[in-house]
Amino acid sequence: MNAMTFLGFPRAKGRAGIRNALLVLGINGLVAPSARRIARNLPGCYLVATPYGRGQLGLDKDMHTAQLVGLGSHPNAGATLIVGADRPTAESVADAIVARSDKEVAVLTLDDVHEDALLLAERSIRVGGALARSISARRRCPVSVSELFVGIECGHSDATSGIASNPLAGAVADRLVDCGASVVIGETLEWLGAEHVLARRAADATVSAGIVEAVEQRERSVAATGVDLLYNNPGYENVRGGLSSIEEKSLGAVAKAGSRPIRSVLRFAAPPACSGLHVMDGPGFSPESLTGFAAAGAQLMLFTTGAGNSFCSLLAPTIKISANRAAVQALIDQIDFDASALLDGEGPSELADRLLARVVDTASGTLTWGEVLAESDECFARFGGSF
């Protein structure tokens, strides 16, 4: 177990990458069209362009910066080209990325080109092109599996999720943690009804209290909008599928975290301070939730679904898993891992070993369907409105 390796790209600081593309990072909505124009001319790059970046204050602004810096520092990016509006903001983001990851970073802004968007694109294509060529000289080499940080998400769950695919993901989470790797789950409101069970597995009293408080805080925010989270939850479809209580529904959801001690409650987009299992306080909406994991440094995602969910992280190859036989057969080029054998009698341990092997294989370069089809994105979570 300890000798398990994948073929990855060691980085100057932090975890190895499982991919090695140029990241074109638009840090302000004003230059998002320019960032798209640049990326169109650098095939093979990752494009992440925020639609926001000004008129933000307080927590909303800090969290937006945290997401930009986290994504800009991502291990799967061989280098990052920052495209910005004003130079001071762009340099501040660049400095933070370098401090965190020692990543090779180039910065181009509208300030540098007297607000000429076409000139910005032209300069960026040349600079980005040189970076892309330079990082292509890097080669994969054996890296310990302990350098993996895997985010686990669920979306469009059904009756098969809580009994098959989520426990399967949890079994892989346990194997990863036992290898010294890191795992994160999020979607705080999906802990509702199971939060005291999670709290019991916390590594210490602070983490335990943090788990309960994260759920309570979200409940209070929801209640302030006049919505009752426990009304009609589980809902009609859940009940028809066999779920009898919110406890049962949430236990089925958090089964994807496995059974190892929970080391910390991560603030949204925050990197973990140690290896092991962590929970992130974040939204249930998958696009935002996955961006939180990627910004924290997760290089790869496991995403369980029932009937199907096409969304994948852009920066972190996402292994889609379903135990719904009909969905797996219909979505044969969108679901990466068929877990329905669990319902037919395949041993859970054998299937978990197979999924772990798929994780290592994907980390070493085998593409997921989401990468092949570019069925992916990063979505910036907001924590307030623009001013």
Partner: protein, 107 residues
């Protein structure tokens, strides 16, 4: 009572229902079930006779569960029985209730 106990051979469709943890007192149907069924609990398979039709994804009792006693799934309490439940009976919203109170801040 179980009609037989035998180790799981791992063959295709060797089980009709599963438990999620050793202390569970309900099993989940892997397909629509009726009559005599095979329940996979860990590495063992046991036989049990159902007394109701159990749709796929739904639960049935592995033993008698008295009124007020906890329903155990994933090794945790997911609610309590609101009536006496027989072995092999359908366990769902009609005979269990959630223990989760209303969130604080809502009346």
């Amino acid at each position: 009572m179980p009609a037989s106990d035998q180790p799981d051979g791992g063959s295709k469709s060797s089980r009709d229902a599963i438990t999620l943890a050793p202390t569970d007192n309900v099993a989940v149907a892997l397909r629509d079930l009726d009559g005599e069924v095979r329940v996979a609990a860990g590495t063992q398979i046991r036989s049990l006779r159902l007394i109701s039709l159990i749709p796929m994804g739904h639960k049935f009792a592995l033993c008698a569960i008295g009124c007020g006693k906890p329903i155990m799934k994933y090794g945790e309490c997911i609610g309590v029985a609101t009536v006496d439940i027989e072995q092999g009976e359908h366990v769902h919203v009609h005979n269990i209730k959630s223990m989760r109170g209303k969130p604080r801040g809502l009346g």
